[in-house]
């Protein structure tokens, strides 16, 4: 008898807990349920779009209450979101770092090209995005400006150079040969910026791409993280080389 009473009590307690639990979640669940269809209307990934959608739709002030809850819940969402998004099948090696970019690219169409900023700036953006979303709709302009500003610091030229020197994926002869070719290319850039016999910038770009391709080919099997880091920094490095002032700063340092 006492057992049945105890079991009955336990059942009642569990039932009460369940009913209590069911009552509290609906507001949040409804909020996410409301936001999810809105997000699916534009893109396929359910969790990632809410923070992405909020900046473009932020201009109408009426959306601010609807955009608020998803952005508040977005911080946990972005990490699982990348795993689901398969927007970039062409880059299997960089998929780990590229996945978080996909929501960013869709969210900021103007800032799509400098997406090569690797995985480092993205957490900063993800931190910045919810913080900017909290103040409400006027902050959308700020988020639009902070996103491109956060990407350039990704380039760590000295770090990449050191990693290239230290890597065991490339042999000594090959490293020396690569260094020769890098020096040759730097000489060509020096001539270009110095106004001497000028190879066109397009030709320099071609040589740069070819050299980078060689480096990536050598690294992709032996040191994939370094390969992806270099690949992500491709445009940033080109920006340094192509810009006269930045190039001279590199030469000085």
């Amino acid at each position: 008898m006492p057992r049945t009473v105890g079991v009955g009590l336990l059942f009642l307690v569990a039932l009460a807990a369940c009913t209590h639990f069911k009552q509290s979640p609906p507001p949040a669940a409804e909020a996410t349920a409301r936001s999810a269809p809105d997000a699916r209307a534009s893109s396929e990934t359910p969790p990632a779009p809410p923070p992405v959608e909020s900046p473009p739709t932020g201009s109408p002030a009426a959306d601010s209450p609807a955009a608020g809850p998803p952005s508040a819940e977005s911080p946990p969402a972005p990490s699982p979101a990348p795993s689901g998004s398969t927007a970039k099948p062409a880059q299997p090696k960089t998929a780990g770092s590229a996945k978080p970019k996909t929501p960013r690219i869709t969210g900021a169409p103007a800032a799509g090209s400098p997406a090569g900023g690797s995985s480092k700036p993205l957490p900063a953006e993800q931190r910045a995005a919810p913080a900017a979303a909290e103040p409400a709709t006027p902050a959308t302009a700020q988020t639009a400006t902070t996103q491109p500003a956060a990407k350039p610091p990704a380039l760590d030229l000295a770090g990449l150079e050191q990693r290239l020197k230290d890597t065991h994926a490339i042999g000594l002869f090959t490293k020396l040969s690569l260094k020769n070719q890098v020096d040759d290319l730097l000489g060509a850039f020096r001539a270009f910026h110095g106004g001497q016999t000028q190879p066109p910038l397009a030709e320099l770009r071609q040589r740069y791409d070819l050299l980078l391709l060689k480096v990536l080919t050598l690294l992709q099997d032996g040191d994939p993280p370094l390969a992806s880091a270099i690949s992500a920094s491709r445009e940033a490095i080109w920006g340094l080389l192509a810009d006269r002032d930045k190039f001279q700063k590199i030469q000085v340092s």
Binding site: I170, G171, L176
Partner: protein, 83 residues
């Protein structure tokens, strides 16, 4: 009679297991030479022999019959000459 056979088998297995570690350096160096030759835009499918002539001076023979002199010149440049 069985004991010596087992001993032989284990010895052979141990020797075989040791084999790749001896060859690993050779393989990595062959790959280094092959990559160096390829970086200069010259064909070499596989290095079958690499003869050391001196410091940073090698003669590489490829499986496809090509032979190269790979060395570092006094200016510090890697040079690959077809032989």
């Amino acid at each position: 009679m069985r004991c010596p056979i087992y001993v032989l088998v284990f010895t052979a297995a141990a020797l075989l297991a040791e084999g790749p570690s001896f060859g690993a350096d050779d393989t990595s160096f062959s790959n280094d030479l092959k990559a160096t030759i390829a970086l200069q835009g010259m064909p070499c499918d596989q290095i079958i022999e690499a003869k050391r002539n001196g410091d940073s001076d090698y003669t590489a023979s490829c499986k496809d019959g090509n032979r190269y002199h790979v060395f570092v010149n006094p200016k510090g440049r890697v040079v690959v000459q077809k032989l």
